[in-house]
Symmetry: C2
Amino acid sequence: MAIRPAEQLIHKAAWLYYAHGLRQDQVASQLNISRASVAMYLRKARETGIVNISTSTQLFTDDVMARRLEDALGLDAVWIAPENSHVPDPSTDIAVLAASVFLELVKKGDRIGVAWGRTIYTIADVMSYADLQDVTVVQLCGNLGAPYSYRPDQCTMEIARRLNAKGLNFYAPLVLSTEELARALRAEPVIREQLSDISDCDLALYSVGAVDADSHLVKCGALSSGEMAELRSRGAAGVIAGQIIDAEGKVLDCSYNRRVISAELASLRAIARRLMVVQEDSKFEPLLAAIAGGLCTHLVVGAHMAQRLLDHAGAAPKKAP
Amino acid sequence: MAIRPAEQLIHKAAWLYYAHGLRQDQVASQLNISRASVAMYLRKARETGIVNISTSTQLFTDDVMARRLEDALGLDAVWIAPENSHVPDPSTDIAVLAASVFLELVKKGDRIGVAWGRTIYTIADVMSYADLQDVTVVQLCGNLGAPYSYRPDQCTMEIARRLNAKGLNFYAPLVLSTEELARALRAEPVIREQLSDISDCDLALYSVGAVDADSHLVKCGALSSGEMAELRSRGAAGVIAGQIIDAEGKVLDCSYNRRVISAELASLRAIARRLMVVQEDSKFEPLLAAIAGGLCTHLVVGAHMAQRLLDHAGAAPKKAP
DNA sequence: CACGGCTCTCGACAAAAGTCAAATTGGGAT
DNA sequence: ATCCCAATTTGACTTTTGTCGAGAGCCGTG
């Protein structure tokens, strides 16, 4: 029997089945193989992105609430995942939507910046495969060691794998122990280049972290929960790509931030499309901070969060009409 | 029962089925309808482009011959449909490929110019549905009356319908009986605007016609076969959007061309992506003329035609190295 | 050269999806 | 108000598809 079922064959089977609309048994006889093999090839074709099945996310923007949110917050586009939905696993619902939205936003030739976190990894995990060969996925911030399976480099690589794209990693720790070392490392040519190239991205994908003891920064040991509490009292409102921001979305002036290796907020803002995805209702203040800081142009949230945002925007409308 | 199964429901079913990967019976119970309805909704979802199934056309560009053709002819991209293929109906093979390529080239917000002919109509006919709401499809040339089912306006409208896009028709005859009348009509504001807007298109889709008695121009009575033969002897090499071109791809200086209402070749050349599709092997010279005239940047042909083009380009290579 | 390990393939079964005619329902016309 | 029409829904049936374990060819190794 054949050594490799040759990408060629998979492609041909997919072509006959999906483009010409033949039945599997017809494809099988055309190709002189068994129906079972055809079924297997077709699965592979879907898994490798040779065929693309995507559903329009239109429905979720069409929502009146989404439109109102766009206006109220000055965002380019908002998608709202219904939460009453009878979906078996509602917790991934936002992630599934976000993955679809993300795939809809990606274009050939794009350079995509990806941050890290549970949300992002969940998105990567449910994302369907696509074949975007001249796309590059770059990591937005340094690595956090150890115990998590959704480290920055893993998020980047998984998404790159799904898109059949190039993944560009970034081998520096997210946080260093002294400001001096961080400065020195940032000055390293390899690192400096990576950081400065971030503003060349066409699309960014990130979430926002909460400033509490549940934060990955605490769980990974980058900060103690005491330090976190102190930062909070000093105005910390959220975490973006490993950096702590205040309620206005500006980098908080603190030692921790000076010890971080990550994309500067200005570089992030230079990216035309910034897709922010928030799953947890508890991240209301962090999200407000990120929006205030102009860190997001496209937003995916759940219905409950959307309602809160709308109430908030209604209560405290934008300054100038 | 429900008045309208509300786009909403179709969308929801498609979402649960395709994005979440539920089975039809699961979707049915979530939505409190029967499995049969779900199946029906899903078909509608595919037909309206709410879900998109596309297969990468990579395979056909990866072909070595396609690459060599691109180089030899200076085109941006070439796709070659295999002709030995055991496909049931090989004549539509090129059209199926062309439709896929076309859908891959269309982007949101595009304005697309479409010409007419059997080839184009066949493409429209096999094209799968998509949901590109802010796309406009415009007609590149005037209408030819009567006996054909693939009139310019039909090609335009059918493609617009498939894409869920806006179709912009062009209500003028393709050919008038006097040059004077043609001039007057071209000067009409409605017509003039349409013609001058053509160069704003982002993508064009057309084929090339042969200069013989089988031409639609003859069959529709725009020209007699005697006139056609005469034009041929005067250097006519092909037909583009209803206009007759010579071997260099320039508009032939003749009364017929002066009586035509159609896009100027210069406007066509101003369109960034010009997809030309040729099905018949007999259209070799017309295709050469079109390529010489720079009327095509992207090309879909059959394997046999590709070979002839390559032989030709090898025998008479491009002027400057 | 025989051996496992490997991947690919096949046939048969179980599951899922597609289809049809009949029934139901709302809306509009009489 | 009532009837008719067209569209939608449904349950039952058929066809198509997905999956499993067994088997067969290929490779490197002992």
